[in-house]
């Protein structure tokens, strides 16, 4: 095992070991203060271990593989940074006591899965990590114990389990398609286009990962869950955890033209999601819900870029999409932290929150000079041409509109007194993360092989600027329409599930009554006789 491979192991092992340490009372009591440490090995792995030789343990039997390709490294680094900053924020935000300790346990399980999906190299460990991040997030969402949080948690859990089922079936089909016993993701992806069940497998992968990434119509849990969780948990949910879906799509759907038909479908779903998120988001009153819908919209753009890359077989799509998502990890995570701060500070210090938040917010629309502008430049080869280019521009205008709406709702939060100073334990993670979201894309743009950032910025300034201006104009118009607030409930389409739920309850009642009938003696006796005869009959027929 080389040093770089050891870092891959450490990325997963660190949160797991901290979790194990919680068996001791002393360690458990201190754990809320140590959460910021847990993702640091993951950060080191992202910096030092990208594109290292995959680590294969027990190649003959277990085939446990850890690997880190360049797009995954980019996302792993950003996610680790966000988890660390949010962990530091959580230490102050959650305080101490049994509630905070419980929160720390769920945090560590979710974290291990969240980082695990970036380094897992075989189907089994990827599935395990994905299950950990999907299911344990429930504990973060219901932390406050309110009925609203509980409902959000239940919807999330139900959909997460359905997503798991889709993926399990998809993985079983992939394992079946691979010649020989290998479970490596690379082999599975190579075998996918030629598999007889190709359509079904890809459909299941898109459903399972799309659910996590918040693709319409599977996004309904996201605007419920992200606002219900405590601030630091919302930050990692929206910033890092949804990326488990993105990395899944990135790694399992080859962008080399082998699945070009699915690329078009994915791009369509992505663009629909991008506009859907804007449309539902601009009528929300709660700034956290606005942010959650913005996540839906942004993930739509990300998936649209991936889909177009698959359709066009554009080289470098994986890296470009990962770069776009990386910016979202940092910026969206930071904005959630800002919501927690805006309410507790007053006077001039409030501008320490609002001003960086405004810059980050406008970055999502592609304001030139921000990290968001570079993110938009990165996916230009995929989303820059023709009708798709126009739609992408309109969605950027929508993002500007949505984020300005967010800023209005943020300012509308009750400010603290002029003397209220935000706690340093909250302020520093926020400022650090905001700075990272603004500056890191500049440093990473070249390193990701996307070219010179200055050149990218100078190219075609009109195309970069019109969405921002259009969005701002629309926002000014929207500002007078407060009566629309609350027109769409959180989780929009969930409204339609009432009928399905009643149908399910009716089915259950019928099953209960039917089963009670079967438990009557005469019927059970008849069933036994019928079974005997049926068995004898089919066996005789087969033998004859």
């Amino acid at each position: 095992m080389t040093g770089a491979q050891a870092l891959l192991v450490a990325a997963i092992a660190a949160p797991v070991l901290l979790l194990a340490a919680c068996l001791w009372d002393g360690a458990r009591r201190r754990m809320p203060g140590l959460l910021w440490l847990a993702p640091l090995p993951g950060l080191a792995a992202a910096l030092l271990a990208a594109d290292t030789t995959p680590l294969v343990l027990d190649a003959a039997r277990l085939r446990f593989t850890l690997a880190l390709d360049a797009p995954s490294a980019l996302l792993l680094g950003a996610a680790a940074l966000l988890w660390s900053a949010a962990g530091a924020y959580a230490s102050r935000y959650m305080g101490r006591g049994p509630g905070a300790e419980r929160f720390a346990l769920w945090w560590l399980i979710t974290l291990s899965g969240s980082l695990g999906v970036f380094v897992a190299g075989d189907l089994a460990s990827f599935y395990l990590a994905f299950a950990a991040v999907s299911l344990a997030a429930f504990g973060l969402i219901v932390q406050d114990g309110t009925p609203r949080a509980r409902r959000a948690g239940e919807v999330t859990l139900l959909l997460a389990v359905m997503g798991e089922i889709c993926l399990l079936l998809a993985f079983a089909l992939l394992a079946e398609a691979v010649q020989g016993p290998s479970l490596a993701i690379a082999d599975a992806v190579a075998a996918l286009p030629g598999s007889p069940a190709r359509g079904l497998a890809v459909g299941l992968l898109v459903a399972g990962f799309g659910l996590k990434a918040g693709l319409v119509p599977l996004h309904v849990w996201l605007p419920l869950a992200h606002p219900a969780a405590p601030m630091p948990a919302s930050a990692v949910l929206s910033g890092a955890i949804v990326k488990a879906g993105i990395i899944g799509l990135l790694r399992f759907l080859p962008a080399d033209g082998a699945l070009s038909d699915w690329g078009g479908i994915l791009a369509g779903i992505g663009l629909l999601t991008a506009f859907w998120g804007v449309g539902c988001g601009i009528v929300q009153a709660n700034p956290k819900t606005v942010l959650a819908y913005s996540t839906v919209s942004q993930m739509g753009v990300t998936v649209a870029a991936l889909g177009m890359g698959m359709a066009m077989a554009a080289p470098g799509t994986g890296m470009a999409v990962a770069f776009y998502a990386t910016h979202h990890v940092l910026a969206k995570g930071a904005l959630f932290l800002a919501v927690g701060l805006a309410a507790g500070s007053g006077g001039w210090r409030r501008w320490l929150v609002l001003l960086p938040a405004l810059i980050l917010a406008l970055g999502f629309g592609g304001l030139p000079g921000t990290g968001g502008a570079l993110a938009k430049a990165a996916v230009k080869p995929q989303l820059g041409e023709g009708l798709v280019g126009l739609l992408a521009g309109l969605s950027a205008a929508g993002s500007t509109l949505l984020m300005l709406h967010f800023m209005r709702r943020l300012i509308a939060l009750e400010a603290g007194g002029t003397a209220d100073r935000p706690a340093r334990g909250l302020l520093l993670p926020w400022l650090g993360l905001a700075a990272a979201a603004l500056l890191l894309p500049w440093a990473l743009y070249g390193a990701a092989g996307l070219g010179d950032p200055w050149e990218a910025l100078g190219k075609d300034p009109v195309a970069a600027l019109w969405p921002v201006l259009l969005g701002a104009a629309l926002a000014a118009g929207l500002a007078r329409q407060d009566r629309w607030l609350g027109a769409v409930p959180e989780g929009d389409l969930l409204l339609l599930t009432g009928k399905a739920r009643r149908l399910g309850a009716a089915c259950g009642a019928v099953a209960v009554r039917a089963e009670a009938l079967l438990r009557a003696w005469p019927i059970a006796g008849l069933a036994l006789m019928a079974l005997l005869l049926a068995l004898f009959g089919v066996m005789l027929a087969a033998a004859a």
């Binding site: 079983a172 394992a175 005869l533 005789l540 033998a543």
Partner: protein
């Protein structure tokens, strides 16, 4: 035809030890019975481990001819991979239940001997003996005797509290089990008449797809299904398993139904020729699928915790039958996967369900009721029991890493590999419903108790630890590398090849 192999004496010991222990406990009684039972079950675990190691090392089944007589005259004990794996599972669960029973079934201080504890410890040993006989027996009549002993030992444990409601539900169990026995016995008589032997290895050579064999197989299968409570023959199971004391419920749901299943496998995989077996298997698997879906759905709507767990058993038994059409599909690789998946399901369900019943019993004991809607506060009063329930639930759902996950993954890939995707749909749908009822219990017990509720009495730590340990084993089964389960393939007849 195998004679006595090296290490065959271990099999005799595995059978003689609990029988001897039972007789001794019966004679000495009181607290000595408890000590004997604990000692014997501890030794039994070591012995089961040795048998498994011996079979694995030899790569071939162990066998012992009683008195040196060859079948059909003499009797044969044999341990192949299936028997060794199930014996080890049973030994571990029995030991755990015995440790759990040290608190609940202790002879009260100041008394020489009390009826309930005395019955518990002696019949626990009787159950161990009959399970060993059911796994190790080499001919169908011996297996029948073992199964009858098992039914009666299980009944006695289930009626331990002596409540009238218990007698009523256990009488239902007894009656239905007896119908099953009659059918089974008819079948053995037919087989003996046709082939002159009941030895499984000899029958495998002699039995063809002839009329008596097929009729016998149908009769015996129907009898075994009645004893296993496969849907729609499950009428007796929920009240019997839910009404028994927790330790007995754990054994009934975890182990007793599995003994009948091992017998069913012996009949279907060893004795029956592949063609009629392959034709009948989808019928059984179809009932299994119905059991999974209906059982889970009914469990989801139960208001009592123990009934919920009992219906979960109805559902989980269904998974066992899904392996039959996959093993018999004629694809050697898929057959190996399905075989391992089925046995792993039997083992992980044994651990998980025992853990579930024990922790449900602890929760019900501490709260004074087992209404699912009013479990609030249980999580705070007895976190270990609730965690045990949750971990066992994860294994039943098939969430990784757990034995249940590995089992379902193997069955799933075998189903897809043989083109029988509809079983895959059932496996996954069942997992979703299982998640639903596990969530109901967990969410209920993690809420805060109503302010007016009396503080539940926290139970003793020991039993809680036992439940947790069982749940952890069912999870840990999923962490064992698949290749080390080669054990269960030993001695399995390969279709189209020599047994």
């Amino acid at each position: 035809m195998s004679g006595t192999t090296p290490g065959g004496w271990l099999l005799v010991l595995a059978l003689a030890l609990p029988v001897g222990g039972m007789l001794l406990a019966f004679a000495l009684g009181g607290r000595t019975a408890e000590r004997i039972a604990l000692g014997v079950l501890g030794l039994g675990t070591v012995l089961a481990g040795m048998i498994a190691a011996e079979v694995y090392a030899a790569g071939a089944p162990l066998a012992y001819r009683l008195g040196g007589w060859a079948p059909p005259l003499g009797l044969r004990l044999q341990a192949d991979g299936l028997a060794a794996a199930m014996l080890l599972t049973a030994a571990l669960v029995l030991l755990a239940v015995a440790l759990f029973g040290r608190a609940a079934q202790a002879t009260p201080p100041g008394v020489q001997e009390a009826r309930a504890p005395f019955t518990f410890w002696t019949f626990l040993l009787a159950l161990a003996a009959s399970l060993a006989a059911a796994f190790l027996g080499g001919d169908l009549f011996n297996l029948f005797v073992a199964l009858e002993m098992l039914t009666f030992a299980a009944l006695s444990l289930a009626c331990l509290d002596g409540r009238p409601s218990q007698f009523r539900s256990e009488l239902r169990y007894l009656f239905f089990a007896l119908i099953g026995s009659v059918l089974y016995l008819l079948g053995t008589a037919l087989l003996y008449g046709a082939h002159g032997t009941l030895d499984i290895a000899l029958l495998a050579e002699r039995a063809g797809a002839d009329l008596p064999t097929l009729l016998a197989a149908a009769l015996m299968t129907a009898g075994l299904l009645a004893k296993m409570a496969l849907f729609p023959l499950h009428l007796w199971l929920p009240p019997a398993h839910a009404g028994a004391p927790p330790a007995a419920s754990a054994l009934l749901s975890g182990l007793v139904v599995k003994a009948a299943f091992v017998l069913l496998l012996r009949l279907w995989i060893w004795v029956l020729p592949p063609v009629p077996a392959g034709a009948g298997a989808p019928l059984l698997a179809g009932l299994g699928a119905a059991a999974i879906l209906v059982g889970s759905l009914i469990a989801l709507r139960q208001e009592r915790l123990k009934l919920l767990v009992a219906y979960s058993t109805v559902a989980q038994i269904g998974y066992l039958f899904l392996m039959l059409p996959l093993v018999l599909a004629g694809d050697p690789e898929a057959a190996a996967r399905a075989w391992l998946g089925g046995i792993l399901q039997a083992a992980s369900h044994a651990f998980a369900k025992a853990a579930m019943f024990l922790s449900a019993g602890l929760v019900a004991g501490a709260l004074g009721h087992d209404r699912v809607a009013e479990l609030g506060g249980a999580g705070r009063a007895m976190p270990m029991a609730v965690i045990a329930f949750g971990l066992a639930g994860l294994s039943l759902m098939g969430i990784p890493p757990s034995g249940g996950f590995t089992a379902k993954w193997l069955l799933l890939t075998a189903a897809l590999g043989t083109g029988q995707w509809w079983w895959a749909a059932v496996i996954l749908g069942g997992g979703l419903l299982t998640g639903g009822y596990v969530y109901r219990v967990l969410a209920g017990s993690l809420t805060a108790p109503p302010a007016a509720a009396p503080r539940p009495e926290p139970p003793a730590q020991g039993p809680e630890r036992v439940a947790l340990a069982l749940a952890l084993v069912s999870v840990a089964l999923g962490l064992v590398p698949l290749a080390s389960f080669g054990l269960v393939q030993i001695g399995r007849p390969i279709l189209g090849g020599a047994p």
